[in-house]
């Protein structure tokens, strides 16, 4: 095996085509998933490709480089629509993990409990994928196809995550439920991005993680939220089960399926209210 450290995307793609290497970003999923098995394939370390790091404003929105870390996302100067993503960034593992772990690593690892996915789904994010001489874009909802499965072909790399422009006054929030306060794998998490018309919701995008193999948007709930004020959302009895139909939680060591469903119904409502009221509910 060899340890490859390309300095540019082109070089990386070329090496990947020749060597069939395993791609390494921050390594926070890569290494733990290896267990005691030896690494026999070559490793392609993206760490020295400067162009893959950082966030920039583009004509049609925002481009977040694949190697941008969660710490960088937290500190970036971004409008309130990104608050959900920033809150998620603060909840990925611990500070040490956030300093290493990258946005593309989180998406490509495709864990059902990946904290980055719900906020990015709610932001309608797209994934920019590069192969030698070509790039393509895929909606995030089409990119993550299953537990630890993504729509990447051999030889392809994720280069960036794109977030389309949003009104400046769009708001957002993210809540994560874990069995302890910090450094915990999510039992469930919810993200909401809302465009407002005065005190009322004009459009809503709500996504839920850790309650299905792939995080899901809740279109039924999103439609039902349109036109409501924060007080009206608060007064809603419970989120009807039909709105939660896209979810299929499992029971695992972290929580039962029934608990997840009940908790999610409540988390969705809280997330929406917090987004509208700038609430600081810390759960």
């Amino acid at each position: 095996m060899s340890y490859l450290t390309p300095k540019s995307t082109e070089e990386a793609l070329a090496l990947l085509g020749q060597a069939g290497a395993d791609v390494l970003a921050g390594g926070t999923d890569f290494f733990p998933s290896r267990g005691t098995r030896p690494q026999t394939r070559s490793i392609l370390d993206l760490g020295q490709i400067d162009s893959l790091r950082g966030i920039e404003k583009t004509a049609r929105g925002w481009r977040i480089g694949a190697m941008t870390t969660w710490s960088q996302i937290q500190r970036a100067d971004l409008p309130p629509a990104f608050d959900a993503l920033k809150r998620a960034a603060r909840e990925v593992g611990s500070v040490q993990i956030q300093n290493r772990g990258t946005i593309a690593g989180n998406l490509c690892n495709a864990s059902p409990a990946a904290d980055g996915v719900p906020p990015l789904l709610a932001l309608n994010a797209e994934v920019e994928i590069g192969s030698p001489g070509a790039t393509r874009r895929v909606a995030l909802s089409d990119f993550v196809t299953g537990v630890r499965r993504v729509a990447l072909s051999p030889g392809e790399l994720v280069l960036a995550v794109h977030v389309p422009s949003l009104p400046d006054d769009a708001v957002s929030h993210f809540l994560k439920l874990g069995s302890r306060r910090y450094l915990v794998i999510s039992i469930a998490m919810t993200a909401a991005v809302l465009e407002l018309d005065g005190p009322r919701i004009a459009t809503a995008r709500v996504a839920v993680g850790a309650c299905s193999p792939v995080a899901q948007r809740l279109p039924g709930l999103e439609a039902a939220l349109v036109g409501l004020t924060a007080a009206e959302v608060a007064a809603l009895p419970v989120v009807p089960e039909t709105h939660l139909a896209p979810l299929a939680p499992i029971a695992d060591v972290r929580g039962s399926a029934a608990y997840r469903m009940r908790a999610v119904a409540d988390l969705c409502r809280r997330t929406v209210i917090a987004a509208m009221t700038g609430g600081t509910t810390d759960e």
Binding site: T36, R181, L183, G255, A258, A263, D266, T281, E283
Partner: protein
């Protein structure tokens, strides 16, 4: 926190000071060497293969594949394991368990070593171990406590608890006008000290040098020596620092014995360090329990009976039984008292003593039951405990050597703001709408003394060397014991060189049972006293000393000088006394243990009261412990800073026990599915807010010469119950299974 002995203390003023940990800088800068930091020349690395089934036989190991891997030097299996001179099922010392050292191909629990691979590098050994690729003939694993399988426990031997019966239990039940009958469950917990178990073994002829984290150096020497048929004196152990022990590092384990055997066989030094995952198996744990408590009261809310039956999980091949019901023996005045134990044999590693063994699990159930009884009586839980306050030891009537529990209740309640607590549950909400509840629990912990020796050497320059094989597993022995030694010699701390953590030193005894500061400290105190006594004799007989002719007058030592008691005008410096006597040094010896008569006369316990506030999300049922106050009376506090840290650590463990810690078995394989820190949860800093410790003044002239009771374990006791009771007070739900999970509250 006040020192609990009036100043000036007997020989000076070091003890009672909040001296900062003396080994702190070495630890935070990484210069403190832990066992696995030692890498002698020519080292081989050992990695063992843990069984991935819980019961059955190993039918195949691919030894050829492992041996063929470059760098692998030896593969040890039951087929070729060199002979041991000692029987793996024997128990050579008080701290011995039956161990698994490849004696046959059977598997008795998941995680049991089934082969050992040696390699020139850790990587080679790791890969060799992986390549062995075991196959098994598996049998169904038994991993759940099942009442039908339970058998009574015969008392006797380490880890076989006795029960007691005082008064007429049947009459106590009959006399009750109100009664409860409740069953609580506690889960298996694994110690998981930061430093995993390790060993670096080197043989020279029939002499064995070990780096090994041990809570009992001399006993470990004897324990390891036994398996190799050599005298205990032939074994030397270095253990200057332990990265935590919690009871799991007092007992030689199978993997460590195998590594030592490998060193003997190869003639090379061998290092073994357990991975985090391997900590869930062969190195002990807190066994799961199911405890039934039947309490009764009369019309005045006086307890007529406490009837506590513990059912504990143990392994299929050894006898450690969590002595949970014993927690009810010494705490509340009840007309009749019974504690009894039964055990269920499961396909798990042998449980063992884990920080506050018995008391932690037993108190969790007892304190909840007391809360339920108070609820049934319709009175405040603190008031209920005061009405049943034991003025003498329940059952035996023995006086307490000291007992400031009432003061703990009062000071703790005051500090917490207990008064005005609504009697009924679900009455309080905070500004965010979170259900808020307050609960309390009583803490009790015995004050054992082991035996220890120490040596103090006064040098001609007036400085001293003090030595004992004491253990610092993080609790602060390097600091607190040096403070005691300095005091005993009347020297400032920086004039005392303290040596510990090596088995060639005088036997410092066992760091366990919360008795190490009392025991090793007692020996140091006596050794220093011996030096001062001899120094006084020399000076009194020396015509040139200002102390000449002081005869039988007592001397006291301060700041390197000897004074005639009560006459500060007559003094002489240590250095001068030695110089005139032409002595290069003066050696004193001391030892400490408890006289059996004293142990008979008094009931000796530390006490405490813990108050907790929790907030529970009414919809998500998430529980946060927002505040805890623990007030503890633990005799004399040698170092308030370290004692507070021990007590806080215990209370944090209480949070862990109440809300987080649980090893979960896969019912199909018997494997623990959450055998790492991603799945086995303990609280993180963000879960620990608003904790406060008070130490309550207590002079105890009987417990030992220094009046020390110990603070290492009592912090957990009472805390678990306090949290569970606060959850009930917040929600109205009694969850009778630990850890309390959010979904239990949801479905309650």
């Amino acid at each position: 926190m006040p020192d609990t002995l009036a100043h000036p203390v007997r020989f000076g003023s070091n003890a009672g000071q909040p001296v900062t940990r003396r080994d702190g800088i070495a630890k935070v800068t990484g210069t403190a060497t832990f066992t696995a930091d030692n890498s002698p020349e020519n080292l081989l690395h050992a990695v063992y293969v843990p069984a991935t089934i819980a019961r059955g036989r190993v039918t195949h190991l691919d030894v050829a594949a492992a041996e063929a891997h470059p760098g692998v030097t030896m593969v040890m299996t039951p087929g070729n394991r060199p002979a041991l001179q000692g029987d793996p099922s024997a128990k050579p010392t008080m701290f011995s368990f039956r161990i698994e050292v490849l004696q046959d191909d059977s598997v008795r629990y998941a995680g049991q070593p089934i082969a050992l691979v040696l390699g020139e590098t850790l990587e080679a050994a790791t890969e060799g171990a992986r390549l062995l690729n075991p196959r098994y003939a598996a049998e169904p694993a038994r991993t759940r406590i099942d009442d039908d399988e339970a058998a009574p426990v015969e008392p006797g031997g380490f880890g076989r608890p006795a029960g007691v019966e005082h008064g007429d239990v049947a009459a106590g039940h009959a006399a009750a006008t109100k009664a409860i009958d409740v069953t609580y469950e506690t889960s298996a917990q694994y110690h998981n000290a930061m430093e995993t178990h390790a060993v670096v073994a080197q043989w020279e002829g029939d002499k064995l040098s070990l780096d090994v984290p041990s809570q009992a150096l001399l006993m470990s020497c004897a324990g390891y020596a036994y398996f190799f048929g050599i005298p205990a004196e032939n074994v030397t152990i270095r253990a200057p620092y332990l990265g935590g022990g919690f009871g799991s590092k007092a007992i030689p384990t199978g993997p460590q014995v195998l590594a030592i055997l490998a060193a003997k066989e190869t003639g090379r030094p061998v290092k073994l360090m357990l991975t985090r995952q391997q900590m869930f198996g062969p190195v002990g744990h807190r066994g799961a329990t199911r405890q039934r408590l039947r309490l009764g009261i009369d019309d005045g809310a006086a307890l007529t009976v406490i009837d506590h039956e513990g059912l504990a999980a143990t392994s299929s091949f050894d006898d450690f039984v969590e002595p949970a019901a014993n927690a009810s023996q010494g705490l509340y005045a009840a007309g009749a008292l019974r504690s009894a134990h039964r055990a269920v044999r499961l396909d798990v590693g042998t449980p063992g003593p884990m920080r506050a063994p018995g008391e932690a699990s037993g108190s969790a159930a007892l304190e909840c039951a007391m809360d339920e009884m108070a609820e049934a009586a319709g009175i405040d839980p603190l008031e209920f405990r005061l009405r049943n306050y034991a003025e003498t030891e329940p059952g035996t009537g023995k006086p307490y050597s000291s007992k400031a529990l009432r003061e703990c209740y009062m000071q703790g309640a005051e500090r917490f703001g207990w008064s005005g607590r609504p009697l009924l549950p679900r009455q309080m909400k905070d500004e965010n709408g979170l259900l808020t509840g307050w609960g309390m629990g009583t803490a009790l912990f015995p004050c054992p003394m082991f035996a220890a020796d120490a040596r103090a050497t006064l040098r001609s320059d007036g400085s001293a060397l003090v030595e004992t094989s004491a253990i610092d597993m993080g609790q602060g022995a390097w600091t607190a014991l040096a403070q005691i030694a300095a005091d005993s010699l009347g020297l400032p701390l920086d004039m005392v060189e303290f040596r510990a953590g090596h088995s060639s030193l005088p036997d410092g005894g066992v760091a366990g049972g919360s008795g190490h500061t009392a025991t090793a400290g007692g020996a140091l105190h006596a050794a220093g006293g011996d030096v001062i006594r001899q120094l006084g004799e020399i000076a009194a007989a020396d015509p040139e000393s200002p102390l000449h002719g002081a005869g039988n007058a007592a001397f006291s030592a301060r700041d390197g000088r000897l004074y005639v008691d009560g006459d500060d005008s007559r003094s002489d410096s240590f250095a001068d006394i030695l110089a005139r006597a032409g002595s290069a040094e003066l050696v004193g010896n001391g030892s400490a243990s408890r006289a059996p008569e004293d142990a008979e006369k008094f009931s000796m316990h530390s006490h405490g009261a813990v108050f907790a506030e929790v907030k529970v999300d009414p919809d998500l049922c998430q529980v946060r412990v927002t505040r805890m106050v623990g007030a503890f009376a633990a005799g004399r506090i040698i170092n308030p800073k370290l004692a507070e840290s021990q007590l806080l650590g215990g209370m944090i463990w209480g949070i862990s026990f109440a809300l987080h810690e649980e090893a979960k078995h896969d019912p199909r394989t018997g494997r623990i599915v959450n055998a790492d820190f991603a799945g086995y949860h303990v609280p993180v800093n963000a879960d620990v807010t608003g904790l406060e410790v008070l130490t309550v003044h207590e002079d105890d002239p009987y417990v030992n010469a220094l009046g020390i009771k110990g603070v290492g374990e009592i912090g957990i006791v009472g805390s678990v119950g306090a949290i569970a009771n606060a959850i009930w007070h917040a929600t109205g739900h009694r969850i009778r299974r630990f850890p309390i999970r959010i979904e239990d509250l949801l479905t309650a």
